[in-house]
Symmetry: C2
Subunit: 606 residues, 2 copies
Amino acid sequence: MTSLPAPSVTTGPLPASTKVFRHGVLHPDIRVPMREIALHADAGEPPVTVYDASGPYTDPAAHIAIAQGLPRLRAGWIAARGDVQAYAGRPVAPADNGLVPADQRSPEFPLRHLPLRARDGRAVTQLAYARAGIITPEMEFVAIRENLGRAQARRHLARDGQGFGAAIPDEVTPEFVREEVARGRAIIPANINHPESEPMVIGRNFLVKINANIGNSAVTSSMAEEVEKMVWAIRWGADTVMDLSTGRNIHNIREWIIRNAPVPIGTVPLYQALEKVGGVAEDLTWEIFRDTLIEQAEQGVDYFTIHAGVRLRHIPLTAERVTGIVSRGGSIMAKWCLHHHRESFLYEHFEEICAICRTYDVAFSLGDGLRPGSIADANDAAQFAELQTLGELTQIAWRHDCQVMIEGPGHVPMHKIKENMDRQLAICGEAPFYTLGPLTTDIAPGYDHITSAIGAAMIGWFGTAMLCYVTPKEHLGLPDRDDVKTGVITYKIAAHAADLAKGHPAARIRDDALSRARFEFRWEDQFNLSLDPDTARAFHDETLPKQAHKLAHFCSMCGPKFCSMKISQDIRAQARAQQGMQTMALKYRAGGDLYMAADALEKLQR
Amino acid sequence: MTSLPAPSVTTGPLPASTKVFRHGVLHPDIRVPMREIALHADAGEPPVTVYDASGPYTDPAAHIAIAQGLPRLRAGWIAARGDVQAYAGRPVAPADNGLVPADQRSPEFPLRHLPLRARDGRAVTQLAYARAGIITPEMEFVAIRENLGRAQARRHLARDGQGFGAAIPDEVTPEFVREEVARGRAIIPANINHPESEPMVIGRNFLVKINANIGNSAVTSSMAEEVEKMVWAIRWGADTVMDLSTGRNIHNIREWIIRNAPVPIGTVPLYQALEKVGGVAEDLTWEIFRDTLIEQAEQGVDYFTIHAGVRLRHIPLTAERVTGIVSRGGSIMAKWCLHHHRESFLYEHFEEICAICRTYDVAFSLGDGLRPGSIADANDAAQFAELQTLGELTQIAWRHDCQVMIEGPGHVPMHKIKENMDRQLAICGEAPFYTLGPLTTDIAPGYDHITSAIGAAMIGWFGTAMLCYVTPKEHLGLPDRDDVKTGVITYKIAAHAADLAKGHPAARIRDDALSRARFEFRWEDQFNLSLDPDTARAFHDETLPKQAHKLAHFCSMCGPKFCSMKISQDIRAQARAQQGMQTMALKYRAGGDLYMAADALEKLQR
């Protein structure tokens, strides 16, 4: 181990924000974190409580020590179930870090916890517990977390939305979570070796989640950068993080990430396996892959992308595509299949993979190795043939009590998006859909966070449970810290737009609070309630930097005389002063030909 | 006039791009500009021709002299119709520039052209000509412009899309343009006093257009900045530009903009009128407003936003809104109506406004003064009551041979967007819809180009003819040059995504060319074909700056070993080398249980 200092990460609360905790009832030791955004005294409104994926890093009361990792909050819950045992674990081999020379090696994580595994072939998955009728602490945790604001909303807001068959409850109970997990409609990625994670749920009847990808490549980036990217991504709202490292030091970098991650971590184990065979796809074997799964399961990876849907017979379907196979995992497996002219070891050994996943509760993210990489290839035979296989694999994984979600495209023009969702729901038994974008055009490299946010918002509305972010660097380079933030905020927008459109009962609370702040010129509240308070404030400061302008009843767009909000307030004040707007409105409604007849009004309001 | 030098603007072609011109048949003197993007010799493909709104500024052969203005390309066409006369025009008054002191005055534009107006009460609008069966040079110009790529596409691409009742032809003929204009389903904004403009068409059966707003405010920005913003906006693809200035010097700044604008210029005349009465809405009069319309029509403004739909009886419907009235024009008129307790002069004098518009061919953009300013207020009674009035006004304007489009919201959650389009089509007789966004959530100030691009792409797909851009500064400040570019590129994405989804026959050509370049590692082509080549290149350079990397068969995301595109190409090459991929595919299809049966395959391909 080198004496390198632990990496520094971004800490501290967001503006005007306090971390609060709600306690469990079934499991009183549960403390579910939420963020309260305080409003200006003039508002006369309570704080707005929002979902908080940022972990202890935004809690001034927390002691952050990256070299020790986060508190192991689920350790007691896991132990209490009495179905796991600690064991020595697989020894770390030099190949796990890509045979990196000593002078280029990332430091090992300083602490080593003995890994856990299921005893006696038991299934230690949240799905197994749910099916057995057990409400785990994880389930109550996510119920409280998801339930955010619903009680408040019930008093104020009518349900309004189009859910396309989703069944979003007025209130999320622990039992509802259990049912959804038991039916396979939701997953709680929660490896027993990642007790640092704060449970979260992915499913169509819950808030739409987002994933941020990080990871080094053979060309660029280090451990310290990746740990900070993870902390930075969750600060802005990433619900899970995938470590897609493809360079060296993969094992060590991942350990630092997992030990410090309060969110589930996903990986594509194939990337590391390929590194172990020097990058030669044909040299991959089931044994090397299996060993990599165990290595990562022992570290605590919460979900694995497994490209077992790429079958030999599907590959010729890609021959006439404009962009062939664009999934890295898919292309690796396709190459292997063609070279050996046999079915992939992922497909042939799928039940063995299930056995590993149930031993640690690693969730499946069934990869779409044949997803379209261009508008031209969207919704083609290759893509839908693979989806059919993913549906079959879902049933197998469920038989083994494994949690499953399904990955989706890619590049899809708007008019072909809904078909993706409809087919996925039908073929995969409502297992959660997890899509990358989709990008709705190919012509804007440098802006693919936007081309894809359009598709992501739409497919989220249609029922996708988690959206994998796309950054401005997509197709062009590896995202840096700024790109990660842009990607996360963009996808929080898409996810939230989807929640609003689905009719999530509490989603509008934040929109309404911000809009009221806007209308009342509470600039500070407007900044603080936004997804990115720093940027909102900075943009306002560019033209009106003085503190006094934060109190101004106008902004630089129109100046004081032209401000419609100000005029509109004046109108309201004037009307109220005269006679009360209600009375006035009634008078107007009752009026002659200048006024609108009451029945015409009612017609419009219907 | 001061001796200030003329402002400098951005000129020069985009990378790998050449301006080409197509000639008319009915009107052989027509030269329709297009941009050809050359591809690398390895591609073995012809250049990709794209729509070009940038005017002479990107033509190295053009002599740009801002102080002289652009060539007056339509002057001969207008004169040849024999229905206009030059006249002295209205004298410019100090109030036209907001009584600005001499030392703060923007310079006058150095040249003065006598304004034209219709002779003998004639209607000189494109609508009048279309109804009379005349195919104007403007109509043939836009037919050629819109027809771009269709001939090429017919050979290669099957029609694919969902048009929601749009009637997009395989080929755009001049006669088709005439019919669409005659029916009121499309407009060609083309003031006879703006002969510098290159004709363009706005309608549901044509390419989706975008508008960029510029303009100073009382707080910030100068003439030189605004002229450069206009040139910059069209460089990146803005099809029209609205000058929304609300500060002083309005008259002089606008003159510089129009004389140098190859795209239609829109305004909200109310802003200037209000400036003339010292910002006191109640002091506005029909006479002052009328005079402002003539002032602007003589200058060459191509379309006016007129908030004549804000009727007295609608105002109380906004009383309980979260954000009241957010349209500046709407709030000004509402204040006036309430103060005087009478119907607005815009509504009462609407036919007189029509008479002015037909005299110069200024198109109406019927403003949505009561558009929702928050998710909470979307699709409410106030909004739809106004829309009903806009439908009535459309019929009146059409009776006067005036061209009309209808402005739309605003802030609308995804599930309420389509209703906006459906109602607009039904109520306004298919007059083109021109929407601001809509923003699909309120919680992301600083990113409202993205919150709104989601809504804009969707409503464009549903049938909106022109999308008004939103920049990152929306709600926070006045956009600078960078914001203008970001807004334009974002809206080009939304418009293009809409064209793809509607099934525009040629839209996919550029996507496919870029995707082939991506698949074949033609990095330079990938940059050059993108909406923003500079940003795409810069992002690539951040991680792989060397020129050699532009030829590399990988990028920094995955590095050489992991590149799926490379692997996928290897697969294809390998397969082709072995036996030809087709043969192989056939063999696979014919195969036993390892392979997919041919009928299963066909089922998937259906």
